[in-house]
């Protein structure tokens, strides 16, 4: 897309998204605009030159702090609904907030593949390998592989086959204020900075969201024209996806301030450190590989490829597809993308 002409009056370039056109064409009344949000996808706030800026405060004074931001050229609208409105603006009642919450992948509770002791190449750094079929999910398959292989250490491997679903890693996210200037506290239940609703988006052709006990396959709220499924989880109605004391997610450590006053930090938290941080909620889920990936190789040929031999010291070659699991705090708007690689042993 080109940049919009910003030489004159401010103009607004409006288009229907591909999903909007699909809903309109359906003619079933599903095209009904009910709400709006505003975003700032193009804006890089590191250009804001106050005293927090790496470049230092702008020499011409506060009127020039945002001069570079205001000159940012804006792209024409993308029509792909998942490619735009990545970062929404958020409304809080209070104007005196200095800290806002973030969401971080908890690679302490559920270690990512790069946490293996051996140096591995061609892996989704900060993410997971997701096994797709029974053979690849079965630990016995790799019993003879190198001891440091993720398929032996079980670090960073989500077992996507239903038979082994509860045995492998899962995706766990900590939400809260990741700043050590603040003392360690659990955000109050009524605190606006505490996230209680999460949106998970993933390619529906590749997999689905599974509850931590492995018993419930979550139902997407909708699947768009590009096969991106959106799942909504709220603390009130989906407590099994939230760690205690907020929810009842089985097998996920509680997310709370320790009762040990000399060491109050949550042992597994990735929010803050041993001295500071405000804990919000801990959200976790498993992944179930799509049936199509288990029984067919078509999508692997179309969207992925084959690994090198002896992939991650496993002694095997795999078919793979790289994808991303996107998790967004529904009210606070913060978003993280977790890289995953769906693998199937050849």
């Amino acid at each position: 897309m080109a940049f919009l002409d910003n030489s004159g009056d401010i103009i607004l370039d409006a288009v229907l998204t591909d999903t909007g056109r699909k809903r309109l064409a359906a003619g079933d009344g599903s095209f009904r605009i009910a709400k709006f949000a505003v975003g700032d996808d193009e804006v890089d706030y590191t250009l804001y030159r106050n005293s927090n800026a790496a470049e230092g405060v702008h020499p011409s004074g506060s009127a020039y702090y945002d001069i570079n931001i205001l000159q940012t050229p804006v792209l024409e609208a993308f029509t792909n609904n998942t490619s735009i409105m990545n970062h929404k603006l958020v409304s809080y009642v209070r104007d005196d907030l200095l800290y806002l919450p973030v969401i971080k992948n908890n690679d302490t509770i559920s270690q990512t593949v790069d946490k293996n002791t051996a140096a591995l190449t061609d892996i989704p750094v900060g993410g997971y390998l997701v096994t797709t079929d029974y053979t690849t999910s079965d630990p016995d398959t790799f019993a003879a592989s190198t001891a440091t292989s993720p398929f032996r250490t079980f670090i960073g491997v989500i077992r996507g086959n239903r038979s082994f679903a509860t045995a492998g890693q899962f995706i766990c996210l900590d939400q809260g204020i990741d700043n050590t200037d603040l003392s360690i506290q659990k955000l109050d239940n009524a605190d606006a900075l505490r996230e209680t609703q999460f949106l998970v988006e993933m390619d529906n052709r590749l997999g689905q969201v599974l509850s931590l006990d492995g018993n419930t396959v979550a139902r997407p709220s909708f699947i768009d024209d590009d096969n991106i499924a959106s799942y909504y989880f709220s603390l009130n109605s989906n407590g099994q996806y939230f760690a205690a004391p907020d929810g009842q997610a089985p097998g996920v450590a509680e997310f709370n301030r320790s009762t040990n006053e000399t060491s109050p930090a949550d042992t597994f938290s990735v929010i803050g450190d041993t001295n500071g941080g405000r804990y919000g909620t801990r959200f976790a889920f498993r992944l179930l590989a799509a049936e199509n990936l288990q029984t067919s190789n078509v999508l692997f040929s179309k969207l992925g490829g084959n690994t090198a031999s002896d992939y991650v010291s496993s002694g095997a070659v795999f078919r793979f597809i790289d994808s991303t699991i996107r998790v967004t705090g529904f009210t606070t708007g913060y978003r993280v993308d977790i890289p995953v690689r769906f693998v199937k042993k050849i």
Partner: protein, 382 residues
């Protein structure tokens, strides 16, 4: 409670309808094809069925070519020419009936009506022969704007296609009365009467009956079809609209042709002979080469829904942009007391289940603080 969505109230959504007009000038060089390099592919397309000829703005084999209009001719069974027409006679009859059926309709007995000179179908003169210009939907859009149509033809009698002959004795066909006087008794919608005038004295048969000129055809606004009478190319003595004297009837011009307006010097056909003895595409060639230019304005009826997205003072002052924070601290604030600042570049319109249905981009970032409010007016056209 934090929120990144704001519900649109009923009062935030307004429907509107506007008419958009575009000027469409079509120059004679495009129509005649002379703007193209000799021997290059042509912008005029003939079909093996020979029922009509299409004019494009560029060689039609190119993917960037746009269809402008089609030309065809037809004659009714009541035409004096039809009995003796020996080239594509059936096709010309079929075309007249097809066009008449769609544009004029049927009478009480189910018979196809003929094109009427003044639009009064109950009586009056009929156009038994018709020259049809069917403009493409790409240009016409929803309809031709009434009162804007103009078409200029050369009625030079020699039939040569040189520059001088083309610009000699030009007649102008307009729907001048269309904006305030049009007919509604067609099954194809509204239509106006086309009138012919000329700035060259004597080119037309009589002094103008009135300012609008002489009726010479019909213009169907919604259908985007101009129907011209063949009388445009005939002198009055032959039942046409052109002046007798200028064309050799009592004058000293073109005496050898005896009032004949030769459509093509190669064939030496006048319009009647052309309709009888020439193929449809051959007649279309002759007509195209006499065309000076065409101009009209089209109309697009835009049905719009306007969403007033109101960002009040307390709304959208923070961002979830990852660069907004450094270790969870807001970059744009140095102290807790500083006002939050955010910059709007995009407005997303969502369905009830949070599907992004439409999106609007601002041409430059808009600074949002608790000290200001915006109403962003997002218009979706259908």
């Amino acid at each position: 409670m934090a929120t990144s969505f704001k519900t649109l109230q009923a009062s935030d959504v307004q429907a509107s309808r506007t008419k958009l007009h575009e000027a469409i000038p079509v120059t004679g060089t495009i129509v005649s094809g002379t703007y193209l390099v000799a021997n290059a592919s042509t912008n005029v397309k003939n079909f093996s069925h020979g029922m009509f000829q299409s004019v494009y703005d560029y060689p039609f084999l190119s993917s960037s070519a746009n269809h402008i209009f089609d030309i065809t001719v037809g004659m009714s069974a009541n035409s004096a020419l039809s009995a003796s027409t020996n080239v594509q006679g059936k096709q010309k009859l079929q075309l007249y009936n097809q066009m008449a059926q769609i544009l004029v309709g049927h009478d009480a007995t189910g018979s196809i009506r003929e094109f009427d000179r003044d639009g009064d179908l109950t009586s009056g003169d009929k156009f038994h022969d018709g020259i049809f210009f069917n403009f493409s939907r790409l240009l016409v859009k929803d309809e031709l704007q009434k009162g804007t149509f103009r078409m200029e033809f050369s009625v030079d009698p020699t039939g040569t296609y040189d520059q001088i002959s083309r610009t000699n004795r030009v007649i102008k066909i307009t729907d001048t009365s269309g904006s305030n006087s049009f007919k509604t008794n067609s099954p194809a919608g509204e239509y106006g009467i086309l009138f012919v005038t000329s700035s060259t004295s004597g080119t037309l048969n009589t002094d103008l009956e009135h300012n609008q000129g002489l009726p010479c055809g019909l213009l169907y606004y919604q259908a985007g079809i101009a129907v011209l009478s063949s009388s445009l190319f005939k002198v009055h003595a032959s039942g046409g609209l052109l002046g007798n004297e200028l064309y050799g009837w009592g004058g000293n011009l073109a005496p050898n042709t005896g009032g004949k307006v030769t459509m093509s010097s190669a064939s030496n056909f006048n319009i009647d002979e052309d309709l009888q003895g020439n193929s449809i595409s051959g007649t279309a060639d002759d007509l195209r080469n006499r065309l000076q230019d065409i101009y009209f304005a089209n109309t697009t009826e835009l049905n719009s829904t306007i969403y007033f997205c109101r960002a009040n003072a307390s709304d959208f002052n923070y961002s979830s942009n990852p660069t907004y924070l450094s270790k969870s601290q807001i970059r744009v604030k140095e102290t807790r007391e500083d006002s939050p600042v955010s910059y709007i570049t995009t407005v997303g319109l969502y369905g009830a289940n949070n599907e992004l249905l439409a999106v609007a981009k601002l041409s430059e970032p808009l600074k949002k603080t608790p000290a200001n409010e915006f109403t962003l007016r997002v218009r979706l056209d259908y």
